[in-house]
C-alpha cells in the first residue's frame, strides 16, 4: 500500500469518526449511500480498468505519443480537448484513464487538458444546462472552460 492510499484512507476514516461523534443517524445514512454508490460505480470502474489493460497492452507507446505526446503539438492537444468535451464518463474514472495515457507516452499538457474538459464541459448535458441557466450563460461557460482547459494544460506542461 503506498503512502497516498494510506493518507486517503486515514483522511476518510477521520472524517467518518468526526461525523459519527456529531450525528450517529446521519453517519449511518451516509454509509448506506457510500455502499450503494460503491456498487453503482463498480461495473464502470471494471470496464475502464480492462480498457486500460487493452490500451497499454495492444497499442504501441510510440503510437499513443504520436497522437497525444510531446511531438504531437497543438493539434494533439486540440483533439484531446474535444474528446474530453464530448465524452460523458464519470469524473472519478477519468483519473486512472489519464494516468494510463501518461504512462504510455501522452504529454502532461494533453492529460491535464483531457481531465479538465472531460469534467468541466458536457456537450451531452448542454441542452439541459441551456434549459436551466439560459443560452447565454451555458454557452459562455462551456466555451470559456474550453479555453481555460487548454491554458491549464499548457502551463502544467511547462511547470511539470
Amino acid at each position: 500500500m503506498n503512502t497516498t492510499a494510506i493518507f486517503i484512507n486515514v483522511f476518510a476514516f477521520g472524517c467518518l469518526i468526526f461525523a459519527f461523534i456529531k450525528d450517529q443517524t446521519k453517519t449511518k445514512q451516509a454509509l448506506t449511500v457510500a455502499l450503494k454508490s460503491f456498487f453503482r460505480i463498480l461495473p464502470t470502474v471494471l470496464i475502464i480498468i480492462i480498457f486500460i489493460g487493452l490500451l497499454l497492452g495492444f497499442v504501441p507507446q510510440n503510437q499513443i505519443s504520436k497522437i497525444v505526446g510531446e511531438q504531437a503539438g497543438f493539434g494533439g492537444v486540440l483533439i484531446v480537448a474535444l474528446l474530453g468535451a464530448f465524452l460523458h464518463i464519470p469524473s472519478l474514472i477519468s483519473f486512472p484513464l489519464a494516468a494510463s495515457l501518461l504512462k504510455s507516452g501522452a504529454s502532461v499538457t494533453s492529460v491535464a487538458v483531457f481531465i479538465t474538459t472531460l469534467t468541466m464541459i458536457g456537450v451531452v448535458t448542454l441542452p439541459l444546462e441551456i434549459k436551466e441557466l439560459g443560452k447565454k450563460m451555458a454557452l459562455l461557460r462551456n466555451g470559456i472552460s474550453f479555453v481555460i482547459a487548454i491554458v491549464i494544460g499548457i502551463v502544467m506542461g511547462v511547470i511539470l
Binding site: N9, L16, I47, F58, V111, M137, L140, I152
Partner: protein
Amino acid sequence: MKDNVKEKETQRKGMKRDAIILGVTLIITIALLSIFPDKQEAVITTSWNFFIEMILILPAVMVLMGLFSVFVPKEMVVKYLGKAAGIRAVFLGILMGSLPTGPLYVAFPMASALLKKGAKISCIIAFLSAWACIKIPQEMVELQFLGPRFMAARLVLTIVLVVIMGILIERLIEWSDKKQILGGEEDASI
C-alpha cells in the same frame, strides 16, 4: 416522491446498461487475448495493477462522498450562496462546489435556483466549475493516480482561472443585458 421513484428507475436502467457493457467488454477481451496469447501477460498485469490501486482507495472515496451528501444538503448550499456578495462570493462558490457529490447535471437545477435567488453570476460559475473538476473525493483519486505535484498544480491553476472566468462571464452578461435594455429604449423612441 415521484422524483424519487423516477430516480430509482433511471438508476436501475443505468446499472443494467453498465452490466451489459461490462459483459461485452469481458467477451471482447477474452476473444482478443485468445487470438493474441503473447499479449495476455501485459494486459492482465496492467489491469490488475490499476485494479489494486483503485480498490485501495475506492471505499474511502465512497465514504467521503456519502458523508458529504448527507451532511452538506443542497438546500444549505443554495441558502449560503444565495446571499453571498463581492469577491467572497466567488471563493465561497468554489468551496461549496467542492463539497457535494454527484455528476455536474445535478448541479444545474441548483445553479438555476441560485440565479432566481439573485446570487452573483461569478459565484454561480465558480460553484459549477468547482463542482465539475475540483470536488474533494475526486481530488483524492487524482492524488492516487497522478501524484501530489500534478494534483496540486492543476488545483491551483483551476482555482485561479475559474475565478477569472467567473468575473469575466458576469461582466459579459451584465454588459450584454445593458446593451439589450439600451437597444430596447432606442427602439421605443422610434
